[in-house]
């Protein structure tokens, strides 16, 4: 069981991710933008962060950049939830310090497979 932070401004997407991961026994917290996610990460220590790219207040890429500077988050896996295979966004996320990505649309099985992949 891992402690996972799901970050997405879309509540339905967030619940889908959270519901799926909870079903697999993980402990999931949710945040609806990058700023809120950073606040949460300051309080709890997460084993994995899944973050959407396009969000109000603070986007996912700025979030990754800032999270990487936080104590205890230099090596934590952070996956970007990108749409389509937009290579620019993937590279932008990677340059900011993201571990990898999961391309939307994904189904619960793909999500679980990817999460299993980073959690090892």
């Amino acid at each position: 069981m891992a402690k996972i932070l799901a970050v997405d401004d879309s509540a339905s997407m967030r619940s889908m991710v959270a519901f799926t991961l909870r079903g697999a026994g993980h402990d999931v917290e949710e945040a609806d933008n990058g700023r809120a996610a950073l606040d949460q990460a300051g309080v709890h220590k997460f084993d994995l962060v899944l973050a959407d790219v396009n969000m109000p207040v603070m986007d996912g890429i700025s979030m990754v950049r800032e999270m990487r500077t936080m104590a205890g988050y230099s090596g934590v896996p952070i996956l970007m939830l990108t749409t389509e295979s937009n290579p620019e966004k993937k590279m932008e996320g990677k340059a900011a310090g993201a571990t990898g990505w999961l391309v939307k649309p994904f189904d619960p099985d793909q999500l679980l497979a990817t999460v299993a992949r980073v959690l090892g």
Binding site: M16, F19, N54, S74, G75, P77, K94, P105
Partner: protein, 658 residues
């Protein structure tokens, strides 16, 4: 097939998409008026982007395909490749409408694409430079390699671990493909004292003894592309395959999707509640528990020395209960902005269509109303706004001639007044023409003459049933619905609507609504051993009627003279089948009530008093009963039924017809 049923997220997706579309529309309207805030463009882009992502995830493919093109158009604007022109705004506004329709269709389990959406999609595609973005090219299938294994040279750069990737995990992934032999090159490893624990110094030579696909092997490394030196070399089979490998049928990806279980589209709607309201509730319940604990100590009775404390406890209990009630009620309250939001678009479209200049002045948007009231107040407001723009406000030429600014103002305002919410719709247009109204009312046979009628009384005539008829309506505000329907809708919500008009200066409609439908003010009346509650808003007057003022009509009905009209008497014990104590008309009381524009007299034993009643649904706990809108619990614990005046009026009309 996943065990997670995605249908459970459809409703949430639909709701948030509608919110997104509203935000998109508002941003587009602001942009249309020349606002130059880049965040507005982002709002529009994000809305389209989120809807597309969600639609694709939750299987609304038609919506996803359509929104994809709208998003591309928005992306061109966002990246500065295209100016935010009128034509773009127009097209995106229409796209928003279409997406809304498509979502409803798909939610209902139907295909989302319609002729309309296809037409607009073509327009959108034509505008997006280079047509629709080329669909993401499927990865070119690598030529099948007759490999029996792979040699992989992998040297992570020193920062690789800081990206959250971990070679050990990647090796486990490779192992899942087949037997793996790992050789570590530790030559770069520094002395322990110089070592940075977060850096990686090792290089690996990996040998995978399995004929896995190149994509599968390289896929393990796709996240570290650029963060390492990587060479993946196939080890070819010693003897080339004698015959081409039989074509393995591709897994039928085009197989029909498993039919999704028809989601029980429970119409149970949801309310989003601010966390501070929840905290307030929890806090109050905590207080209540403390008070309850304090009162428990008086379990064995109260002696004189404790009386003060006991009273104090009771007072506290009373206060907390009241606060809790208010707090719970506030959960059903939503800001009127949820209804007001649709008007900027409506006003813009109408003004454009009629060649009029109109500015909309929205005020008091944070005023909160009961959710049920909010859902039902939209239509009457739309009607008033259409009327105001169509008939009230003049065109620019006429306005200038009248010495006014060429732009008309439409004001919509919500505010609290006493225990009610007031919503006003006012324009600075031509106002009502008294003579024209009087003439029309006489023609329709509503009044005989306008002599001696005050201006207000004349204005009230437009609410009379039959005043506006099809002949008087235009395609805009008409729709065969008159102001009488507006009034009836508002009355159904327990509210009132009035009009104030000054010829040449403008017209203002004032709608007064109860704060909530969950509590009503009512008059309690006794009928035998039963108690009935009559909503105060429906009551005209209560009178005692003398026996000689009653006329029997053929067929069993009774009428009595009330002012200058004859009203039917409805004996409550008759309707509800209980035993009345008083049967002679002069012994009891007649409550004159009005519902759906018709007055009747309800006959009861006596009036008990006035009180607030918390409405409990009868339908939810028992079943629907004609003439009863709900029930409530009285101070003594007994149940009182709340009369449904409109229902009783209809019942009376049927009895008369029978």
């Amino acid at each position: 097939m996943s065990k997670v049923d995605l249908a459970q997220f459809h409703k949430a997706f639909h709701e948030e998409s509608l919110d997104g579309l509203d935000a998109m529309e508002q941003a587009l309207l602001a942009l249309d008026e020349g606002a130059e805030d880049p965040e507005l463009i982002n709002v529009v882009f994000r809305a389209a982007h989120s809807i597309k992502g969600g639609a694709a995830t939750f299987g609304f493919n038609d919506v996803a395909a359509f929104t994809h093109v709208a998003e591309n158009l928005m992306d061109e604007v966002r990246s500065g490749r295209r100016p935010m022109e009128k034509a773009v705004v127009e097209l995106l506004l229409r796209s928003g409408d279409i997406i809304r329709d498509m979502l409803s269709l798909q939610m209902a389990g139907q295909p989302g694409a319609t002729t309309e959406s296809q037409t607009l999609l073509a327009e959108l595609s034509a505008m997006v430079s280079g047509g629709t973005a080329a669909p993401v090219a499927a990865k070119a299938a690598a030529p099948a390699e007759a490999v029996e294994g792979w040699d992989i040279a992998f040297r992570p750069f020193d920062y690789l671990l800081k990206t959250g990737n971990d070679p050990a995990r990647m090796f486990r992934e490779l192992e899942a493909l087949g037997p793996l032999t790992t050789t570590v090159d530790a030559s770069k490893l520094p002395a322990l004292a110089d070592m940075d624990p977060t850096a990686s110094y090792l290089a690996y030579t990996l040998r995978l003894d399995a004929g896995a696909k190149r994509a599968a092997v390289e896929g393990v490394f796709d996240w570290v592309d650029g963060d390492c030196d990587l060479a993946v070399t196939p080890r070819l089979a010693a003897a080339p395959a004698s015959a081409p490998a039989p074509v393995v049928p591709v897994a039928a990806s085009a197989a029909p999707r498993a039919v999704r279980e028809v989601a029980t589209s429970s119409e149970a709607s949801s309310v989003r509640v601010g966390i501070e309201k929840i905290d307030m509730l929890i806090n109050l319940v905590g207080e209540l528990v403390i008070t309850q604990a304090m009162l428990t100590q008086f379990d064995d009775g109260v002696d004189a020395s404790q009386l003060e404390m006991f009273r104090h406890g009771l007072a506290q209990l009373g206060r907390h209960t009241r606060e809790l009630q208010e707090s719970v009620m506030s959960i059903r309250m939503l800001p009127i902005s949820t209804v007001f939001n649709r008007f900027p678009r409506l006003v813009r479209d109408l003004a454009q269509k009629l060649d009029k200049k109109v500015v909309l002045d929205l005020r008091g948007e944070t005023t909160e109303l009961d959710k049920t009231v909010l859902e039902k107040i939209g239509d009457p407001l739309v009607h008033l706004v259409r009327n105001a723009i169509d008939h009230g406000l003049e065109g620019p030429a006429k306005r200038t001639a009248a010495g006014k600014s060429d732009t008309g103002t439409l004001r919509m305002e919500a505010f609290h007044r006493g225990g009610s919410i007031v919503v006003e719709v006012g324009d600075d247009g031509a106002g009502l023409n008294r003579d024209a109204i009087v003439a029309k009312a006489i023609q329709r046979g509503i009044i005989a003459s306008g002599e001696g009628m005050s201006d207000d009384a004349v204005a009230e005539l437009i609410f009379e049933a039959g005043f506006s008829t099809a002949a008087a309506t235009t395609d805009l505000s008409g729709r065969g619905v008159g102001m009488d329907v507006v009034r009836r809708n508002v009355m159904d919500l327990g509210g009132t609507v009035s009009i104030r008009s000054v010829y040449g200066k403008g017209t203002t409609f004032t709608i007064t609504l109860p704060l909530t439908l969950a509590i009503i003010d009512g008059l309690t009346a006794a009928v035998g051993s039963e108690t009935y509650i009559v909503p105060l808003v429906s009551i005209v007057e209560s009178v005692q009627v003398k026996a000689d003022a009653v006329r029997s009509v053929v067929g069993g009905g009774e009428l009595f003279r009330f002012r200058d009209e004859w009203l039917p008497i409805v004996r409550l014990f008759d309707v509800f089948g209980c035993e009345g104590e008083r049967r002679a008309i002069q012994d009891g009381i007649v409550i004159v009530v009005e519902g759906e524009g018709t007055r009747i007299g309800l006959f009861a034993d006596e009036l008990i008093g006035q009180q607030q009643a918390v409405v409990k649904s009868l339908e939810a706990n028992y079943r629907r009963v004609v003439g009863i809108s709900g029930a409530t619990i009285l101070a003594d614990g007994s149940v009182a039924l709340i009369t449904d005046i409109a229902g009783l009026v209809r019942l009376q009309a049927r009895r008369k017809a029978a």
